[in-house]
């Protein structure tokens, strides 16, 4: 009753709003310019390897670094470098960026050929060269994730797509299922992973059916129907659902024998291994009440959100919020003129009707936040500890385990800013050196 292992970790039932699930991917007219950030991943920022005036082709490396935890950056259009400068990103950081004026020809670099992969080392080198980062949203360089020391027994493929509105991973399953299995097979082969579990939320029956049918031809690969309970796609939650293993504090999934990869990441990996064209474009879901045309589009990385909005018929009324990502964890942009990055999977143009505005009142200690937290944290108590700046208590209550999934803030009847206080509590803990 109190301490037994639950079959599913906590979470919240959110409105799915998957309006675009049947919108096939399409391309929009190429933008005239792109702004490509040199930091599109967790880890070290890349250094531009081109200068103003250089002619570049699509797929050419324009930024790289010696650091291990990083992924190279490629030109997403062909054309001329017009500017190499720092720009302010959506998260408020100044990041170096390369601006390219497209020549409209979309010429692919002639020396791009499928990588020669023969063993684990050449495979990991190819993954790094592809520029792949976790496309589910985290943006962690994939070659780093695939290079663990301990033995891996299970590869978990994340097709949960638990965020409302977003359907770009679903479209990957429906349109590029062969690529997904090709990518899985490659990872399995070079990393010697016996078991593969593809986790998909139950609200996507067509994808479950399609991948389950195909999985019959791949021994060791099975599809797992996840409950449609946000946040099933969060790494630790998915690992629990797929393997019933609990990721201990401070450990990586590889430490418990698991690697998690997003479906679109393995799909892309397959296309890279076949063609040699690195990560230069991304499928994103465009939705929300404030945009005329909704759907899934494939866009060059570095395209301005403003341009995407115009290509999708422009705004309907005035957008109240523009989100990079889903409504549960996405970042609210302060301006539409922000470039698309690798790990974006949706741009949502929300109007006031799409947002639930609630008054913030006193905590009534209802305990809903505790029930909603997938990790059994006590968000209301954490808020109190943060307000008291009580570092020892923040530490005891494990604020550091919070992944900021948003369940507590979502469910709170008093609309307390619980995620915000956890975020700030984590900073407080980090700054105190604990």
């Amino acid at each position: 009753m109190f301490g037994s292992k639950p079959s599913v970790l906590g979470g919240v039932h959110v409105k799915h709003n998957k309006y675009t699930e049947n919108c096939e991917s399409k391309r929009i007219t190429l933008p005239e310019t792109v702004t490509i950030l040199m930091s599109q991943h967790i880890g070290a920022s890349c250094v531009p390897t081109v200068k103003v005036g250089d002619e570049v082709t699509k797929g050419q490396v324009i930024g790289d670094t010696e650091s291990f935890v990083a992924a190279p950056i490629h030109a997403s259009v062909s054309g001329k470098v017009t500017k190499v400068d720092s720009v302010l990103t959506s998260s408020g950081a100044m990041v170096p960026a390369v601006m390219i004026a497209s020549d409209g020809e979309d010429r692919v670099s002639p020396d791009l050929t499928p990588p020669v992969v023969t063993d684990r080392e050449s495979f990991l080198a190819a993954v790094r060269a592809s520029g792949l980062v976790g496309l589910g949203g985290a943006g962690f360089p994939t070659h780093v994730k695939l290079n663990p020391q301990p033995a891996i027994d299970t590869l978990v493929i994340n097709g949960a797509e638990c965020e409302p509105y977003i359907t770009s991973d679903y479209r990957e399953c429906m349109e590029n299922a062969e690529d997904i299995f090709y990518g899985i097979t490659a990872v399995q082969k070079y990393l010697e992973i016996p078991n593969v579990i593809i986790g998909i939320e139950g609200n996507k029956p067509a994808a479950i059916k399609k991948l389950s049918e195909m999985a019959k031809d791949y021994p060791g690969v099975r599809v797992l129907t996840l409950p449609a309970l946000y946040p099933q796609g969060a790494e630790k939650v998915l690992i629990y659902s797929a393997t019933k293993r609990v990721l201990p504090e401070g450990k990586l999934p590889a430490d418990i024998g698991v690697i998690v990869m997003n479906v679109t990441s393995v799909g892309f990996l397959a296309r890279y291994l076949k063609t040699g064209i690195p990560l230069v474009e991304k499928r994103i879901t465009v939705d929300g009440g404030a945009i005329k045309e909704k759907g899934n589009i494939i866009v060059p990385i570095g395209t301005s959100i403003q341009y995407i909005a115009e290509a999708m018929g422009g705004f309907v009324g005035t957008p109240a919020k523009i989100l990079m990502g889903g409504p549960m964890m996405g970042i609210a942009l302060y301006q539409a003129d922000t470039p698309l990055v690798k790990n974006n999977n949706a741009i949502l143009f929300l109007n006031e009707k799409d947002l639930v505005v609630k008054e913030t009142t006193n905590c009534i200690r209802c305990g809903k936040c505790i029930q909603a937290c997938p990790f059994n944290l006590m968000p209301a108590a954490l808020e109190g500890a943060y307000q008291a700046k009580n570092i020892d208590r923040l530490k005891a209550l494990k604020v550091n385990l919070c992944m900021e999934c948003g369940c507590c803030s979502y469910i709170c009847p008093a609309n307390r800013p619980l995620v915000e206080s956890n975020h700030l509590g984590k900073l407080l803990l980090r700054n105190a050196g604990k």
Binding site: M1, I331, Q335, L350, K368, I370, L401, S409
Partner: protein, 310 residues
């Protein structure tokens, strides 16, 4: 248009659940008991409840005006307090007593401690206990069921008193279940309280842990002590207390473990007071005592974070 974009932290969508909605569900869940009270004790039940609600809301409104704080009556918690307080009164309670109790509940027990969410004990119960020890005669004057149909006021003893004094004149068990017996106006009908409790469980407003643990503990301990279990369990304010007062979020633990301890503690205290104390009823004292212990319970019943190390 850029400068009009709203920039906040995630999540950008929120559930439709609000404090006001929760309170509204509790009010709805309390309505079957009001119907039962009107049948058993007449329309004066509605008058007592109406006065208590109006007084509670008015005191909260005035307190906020005088202390220059943001109004909070729209959260409906004062309405819930008013109803619960009235349910803990005999139907014959004088109107001035109802208003005085509402003042104690809202101003003394709730607002002086910081308003909703900050009160240390259930406001309605604090008010009841203050009146109970201060105005014992008025608070233990029990009009008999259907007295309003008679010419003269007929009074009765509550079943818990009859158990010790005059077991022969106890009402039938069916009357006990339906609420045709002497007692506080909102506590007598077990049936009506169960309907309300089922509604709250269905709407997930309350967890069954506290009511079930509380009632089961009382039943088991009384059974061990050789007492008359059905009359004891249905005779006092146990169902009203267990379903509607011991589940008040603010003054009870919010983890499952804490709720279990709270229910157990309430059960033990109730039985101890009833069997060994000088009062025949012990629900109000037990819940308020456990309210006071809630911060301590909270301290030892925190959840264990998943994967958390030392």
């Amino acid at each position: 248009m850029d400068n009009k974009l709203i920039v906040t932290g995630a999540p950008h969508v929120k559930s439709a659940n609000t404090t006001q909605k929760i309170m509204l569900y509790v009010i709805l869940a309390l309505m079957p008991s009001l119907v039962a009270a009107n049948i058993v004790f007449g329309f004066r039940s509605t008058v007592v409840v109406g006065v208590a609600v109006a007084a509670c809301v008015a005191f909260e409104y005035l307190f906020k005006v005088i202390t220059k704080q943001k109004q909070s009556i729209s959260d409906l918690s004062a309405v819930v307090t008013g109803i619960l307080f009235a349910y803990n009164l005999p139907v014959s309670a004088p109107i001035w007593l109802v208003i005085l109790g509402s003042f104690i509940a809202i101003v003394v027990a709730k607002q002086l401690f910081g308003g909703l969410g900050k009160n240390f004990a259930n406001p309605a119960l604090v008010a009841r206990l203050v009146l109970f020890v201060s105005f014992a005669a008025a608070m233990t004057h029990w009009p008999a069921p259907y007295y309003y149909k008679e010419v003269d006021m007929i009074t009765t003893a509550t079943p818990l008193l009859l158990l010790t004094k005059d077991p022969a004149s106890l009402p039938s068990l069916m009357d006990m279940f339906l609420g045709v017996r002497g007692g506080c106006l909102g506590e007598t009908s077990v049936l009506a309280l169960l309907i309300g409790g089922a509604f709250l469980l269905w709407k997930k407003v309350i967890s069954p842990i506290i009511p079930v643990t509380y009632i089961a503990t009382v039943a088991v301990l009384l059974w061990i002590a050789g007492a008359n279990v059905p009359y004891h369990v249905m005779g006092g304010g146990l169902f009203l207390g267990a379903i509607f007062m011991a589940t008040d979020y603010v003054t009870t633990p919010s983890t499952k473990k804490g709720m279990f301890i709270f229910g157990l503690g309430c059960g033990i205290l109730t039985v101890v007071i009833r069997l060994f104390g000088s009062y025949v009823e012990g629900v109000s004292f037990s819940i308020v005592l456990m309210n006071l212990l809630t911060p301590l319970i909270d301290q030892y019943t925190g959840t264990k974070p998943l994967g958390g190390g030392k």
